[in-house]
Symmetry: C2
Subunit: 279 residues, 2 copies
Amino acid sequence: MRSNILVVGSLAYDDVQTPAEHRTDVLGGAASYFAIAARLYAPVRLVGVIGGRSGGSFRWLGRYDYAMNTAETINTDLGVFADWQPRVPESFADSEFVFLANIDPEIQLATLRSVRAPKAVALDTMNYWIDHKRDALLEVISHVDIVSVNESEARQLCDTISVPKAARDILARGPRAVVVKRGEYGSVLFTRSFSFWSPAFPFDEVTDPTGAGDSFAGGFLGHLAETGSVDDRALRRATLHGTVCASFAVERFSVDGIEAATPEDVAARYRLLQDLVRV
Amino acid sequence: MRSNILVVGSLAYDDVQTPAEHRTDVLGGAASYFAIAARLYAPVRLVGVIGGRSGGSFRWLGRYDYAMNTAETINTDLGVFADWQPRVPESFADSEFVFLANIDPEIQLATLRSVRAPKAVALDTMNYWIDHKRDALLEVISHVDIVSVNESEARQLCDTISVPKAARDILARGPRAVVVKRGEYGSVLFTRSFSFWSPAFPFDEVTDPTGAGDSFAGGFLGHLAETGSVDDRALRRATLHGTVCASFAVERFSVDGIEAATPEDVAARYRLLQDLVRV
């Protein structure tokens, strides 16, 4: 039977500029991408905040250059997100898989404490928290099962250029798996007993890289929840499902690509990824 | 029966500086790395030039920074290599697999014409020839079967940031396979009908990246010569063998790593690469 998934994170309106196009007021936010990906696999519970009387919704204005690798943040208007203290309702306290999207690590830890006995908890973070709340981040990392970071974050967090060393350093703090995302170069899953490499989906070009990491996490945890397992085989397959969901996210603007994807689309892209490495 | 392999390219003395170490007067040159890798698979014939009465051997002084990705050339002393016109002896004219290492594309083409009926010819090049002898390079590319380039060379040659587009552009000129090397991110083989993605060997750190590409080519053509085949399966496996030989090259200075490797070492690393992608 499918397990359920809880995500706690941002909901936002994005303004996104790429060399080819400029879109305003599109749906964004880590929890949006995650949830829309993960619902392809299992029921999703979402805790987030949107604007109302007390202020506006979180807004992000970002720009990608020709290489489409890292976003330049032009403006951030946190709105009601600034002082948000997520409360996980009692009816969500039995959640089995949990994704702590990129927010203040102190809030991640508080949130985690309101879930009783999750089978697996994954967390994402960003350079800002590594710089400004390092100790709190290391504390919450020691309480989760899976850490999902991109390559530069892994290096920054562990102060080494060597990604395998960084992964070992994170694993030594408690998590049983670290996924390092490397954009067009794919991703690598590290555990104490094995590593697993996933190619990226082989696009000529991507349309909008926003949300790739959160969609990846959605596919990853989605697969674990769908199978109810966190064994080695499930973790390997989850990495490929993460790649598949990220591929839907980046091929259209905003959440359009991942929203249009079906389980059949997922299965087809999963097979294509396997073909890429078959000898 | 094993086919034989001909390599035409540089033999050199290198001075190599890395953040950890500085070695002088070590064996280098593209043909050295290639031959020492390829002899693990099949008999190798080598055409190169060394110093004598008319001048000194080719010398290269290079430095790698902390990231160990691209070499900074501090000094090049071409010596007798400057005016070298390789002559392929009549006894080598029946060579079955041929590697045209990185030299002037006009010389590559002349060399190729002195081999009668090779089963497969592979070519490497560098940014200098893309800049200065583009037409000659495109001409020789149209006469070879396999093009081996790194990612930045592929982009520069085809004037696109998209590696898949660059690969298609090269394939459209005649070759049946393009291998794009991406350092620590592995490599991708492109043909008209499929792509194949190889992880890199997962080192914490590399000792000396010099010769990685030529050792890769040695393992790649070596496997083709050993099997006598250039079918799709052989090309996929050759890509993994290229990765394996590159891994030996970079883990020690100069040719020391690839020289010490045995067929058993090759088999063990080949299995490890397969484990990295097995679900």
